[in-house]
């Protein structure tokens, strides 16, 4: 179950089923016990009735047993006719164990079953069993509840009186009960689960609401928003308050960062401007000795390097805040690639690396921030050239389909160790300095971090594949839908 709501519903349904089941089981056994008591009362009263009839008949007639045509003793016809109407199983034996009478139900039994029934009667010790017993006339016969008793009031003509009833009549009622319970279960469970789901949803509604609200707070610009705290001081109110406190702290640190980036821009760039102005004035004067010129040129380079580093830092700081905006306009990416390609060609020439640039014949127009995308492409090309040894090659390819534009920059360079791959887009991350060409100053390690930001700010993505010693391929994708 993915949501708390689902889990709550599941738990609710399980609890409901369990309590219903307990209720049903208790009901079943209570009902069963009552049914069997009824059954036992019935056979007791049948036994009483039969004994009464026999006692009465004995007082009226005296002899109740007579031989039949075959000479076997049987109950006299008139009494037998009266007993015929007593339901269930009724068996009467003589003192020497001969069968005197069997009721219609008993006569309907198979021979084997009947034998077992009479054996049961014969086994009974004198005095009978007043407590009802149970006997199963297996394999297919009915299970009987029965009592066996003597009939002393009949002048000792009878051995035992067996009165029994099929438990099926009690079970039949129980089966009906079970099916009723099952139907009630199914009919009751579905709405109960639905109600449970609704209740869980209602209880969690404020949480859903909170999730939506928090989700809308995406960056520095929406951080001033706060969650509505419910009037009732329950768990949800405390959660909302806690989240609000957290956002206040976040907002404060964001504000501090924003102040810092604005101040840093001004406070660091103004002195840089002053240094630059001085150097530029000096370096463009006609009569400067060459030695001084060289020193000035170096200073100028450092100023530029610092400016670039500062710009990169500020760009990333603003990107974190969500304030770094793009100035998008429809551009044919082929033009940017061609322009960056010329620079790439120069860089490759300098490094003794072959470069190949391929663009499709038809325009690839996309709404992008021209200078940012150029920066991205240049970063990748520069990187590829930097890590490719003399004699290697770099290939830049622009392509894609209807859904997206794909730019790949592949090189046959030294590659990136698998352990380093996850870190290359991290800020200030640099591979072992041994990797760079000797004599070259390593960069600040912000180029790829900025490239990643540029790709993602355009709704795109950047990926890298690399094999040490074989080369590296960077793939940038831009969605066309954003154009």
């Amino acid at each position: 179950m993915e949501s708390i709501r689902g889990r709550l519903t599941l738990w609710y349904a399980t609890a409901l089923i369990l309590s219903l089941a307990v209720f049903a089981v208790v009901l079943y056994f209570a009902r069963r016990s009552a049914s069997y008591q009824d059954l036992d009362r019935r056979i007791q009263s049948e036994a009483d009735l039969t004994a009464g009839i026999l006692a009465e008949s004995y007082r009226a007639r005296g002899i109740l047993v007579e031989p039949d045509t075959a000479g076997r003793p049987v109950l006299i016809g008139e009494v037998a006719a009266v007993l015929e109407v007593v339901p269930d199983y009724l068996v009467l034996t003589s003192r020497d164990g001969r069968l005197l009478f069997a009721s219609p139900d008993a006569r309907a039994l198979t021979f084997a079953e009947f034998e077992r029934l009479t054996a049961l009667v014969a086994r009974t010790p004198p005095g009978g069993s007043r407590v009802p017993g149970q006997h199963n006339l297996r394999p297919n016969g009915p299970t009987l509840h029965y009592v066996i008793r003597e009939i002393p009031q009949a002048g000792g003509q009878f051995g035992a009186l067996f009165a029994g009833a099929d438990t099926r009549s009690a079970e039949l009622g129980l089966q009906q009960l079970v099916s009723t319970i099952l139907v009630a279960f199914v009919i009751g469970l579905v709405p109960a689960v639905l109600v449970g789901r609704w209740l869980a949803g209602r209880a969690l509604e404020p949480v859903d609401h909170m999730i939506t609200e928090v989700r809308e707070i995406t960056d520095g610009r929406t951080l001033h928003r706060r969650l509505a705290v419910p009037m009732v001081k329950d768990e949800l109110a405390r959660l909302a308050e806690t989240l609000n406190q957290m956002m206040t702290r976040l907002e404060r640190s964001f504000a501090a960062l924003r102040r810092f980036t604005a101040d840093a821009s001004h406070e660091l760039k103004t002195p840089l401007t002053v240094v630059r102005a001085g150097v530029e004035r000096a370096i463009t004067r006609p009569d400067v000795p060459q030695e001084t010129l060289a020193a000035l040129e170096e200073t100028l380079q450092e100023v530029n390097r610092m400016t670039e580093l500062l710009d990169s830092l500020l760009t990333l700081a603003r990107a974190d805040e969500g304030r770094a905006e793009l100035h998008r306009e429809p551009v044919d990416l082929r033009a940017i690639v061609a322009e960056a390609g010329e620079t790439g060609d120069l860089l490759a020439d300098h490094a003794g690396v072959a470069i190949e640039i391929r663009t499709p014949p038809q325009p690839v127009v996309l709404a992008v921030d021209r200078s940012r995308v150029r920066q991205l492409i240049l970063n990748l090309i520069e990187n590829a050239v930097k890590y490719t040894p003399r004699g290697g090659n770099v290939s830049v390819r622009l392509g894609g389909d209807n859904g997206q534009v794909v730019l790949t920059v592949a090189d046959s360079g030294i590659g990136i160790a698998p352990g380093d791959l996850p870190h290359i887009f991290d800020r200030f991350w640099r591979a072992d300095s041994a990797r760079t060409r000797t004599g070259e100053r390593p960069g600040a390690g912000l180029g790829l971090a900025i490239s990643k930001w540029i790709a993602e700010a355009h709704g795109g993505a950047i990926e890298v594949q690399s094999r040490p010693g074989r080369g590296t391929t960077f793939t940038v994708t831009f969605p066309r839908g954003d154009a």
């Binding site: 000035l296 530029n304 500020l314 770094a324 520069e382």
Partner: protein, 222 residues
């Protein structure tokens, strides 16, 4: 052409003022927004170079007040913020262009030139050094009458050197000019361009026109 520079940092302001003076403009410098607005509305200036962070009245406010009063004076904004939204805001407020600090003076000058609509005749359309000619209008380059094909970067580097012929131009300045002022390739990429230019321009010809100044840069002279 008279230019008003409003910049609170004295060194930067003075540098801009003097640089503009040297380039043949008449520039005046004031240090706060109040004064800047007063002078700008006086009608004595043809262009306003405006820093955005100023004491008393911020650059944005000066700009807004100026435009609210219907004053169409061309305004070039100087800003330390390189954020696009900030630039867009300045442009929306009615600025005509902007330069990001720290700027190359060449860039500032180029933008001032464009805004001032200075007659093109001041910079001759065709630059010449010995028998090498470069037409800034058609971007055609010839040596001894023979046309030479150049790539955009080669053209930019040559144009820059020819504009400043006889003066040693540093690699950094050349790179900034040819690469839109915002690219630091970290390697001496200019050297590669120069090698290619030499092949196309100086190879097999006399006199050699492109000269190396060790540790500094290059100069074009006969």
């Amino acid at each position: 052409m008279k230019i008003l520079v409003v910049e609170d940092d004295k060194t930067v302001g003075e540098y801009v003022r003097r640089g503009l003076d040297e380039a043949g403009y008449h520039a005046e410098l004031v240090g706060d927004g109040d004064q800047g607005l007063r002078l700008a509305t006086g009608g004595h200036f043809d262009l306003l170079v405006l820093d955005l962070r100023l004491p008393k009245l911020s650059g944005i406010e000066v700009l807004r007040t100026l435009r609210d009063r219907g004053n169409g004076l061309p305004v070039l904004v100087l800003t330390a913020q390189d954020a696009v939204d900030f630039k867009v805001q300045a442009l929306r407020m009615g600025a005509d262009d902007y330069v990001t600090k720290p700027f190359a003076f060449e860039e500032l000058l180029a933008r001032v030139e464009a805004l001032g609509r200075r007659p093109k005749s001041i910079t001759p359309p065709v630059l010449k050094v010995a028998d090498l000619a470069l037409d800034t209008g058609s971007r055609a380059v010839t040596r001894g009458g023979r046309a030479i094909e150049l790539t955009p970067k080669e053209y930019a580097v040559l144009e820059y050197l020819m504009r400043h012929q006889g003066r040693v131009m540093s690699r950094t300045l050349i790179t900034e000019y040819a690469w839109d002022y915002h690219f630091d390739p970290g390697t001496n990429i200019v050297d590669v361009v120069i090698t290619r230019l030499r092949k196309k321009i100086d190879h097999g010809r006399e006199p050699k026109l492109i000269h190396t100044v060790r540790g500094v840069g290059y100069v074009v002279r006969p």
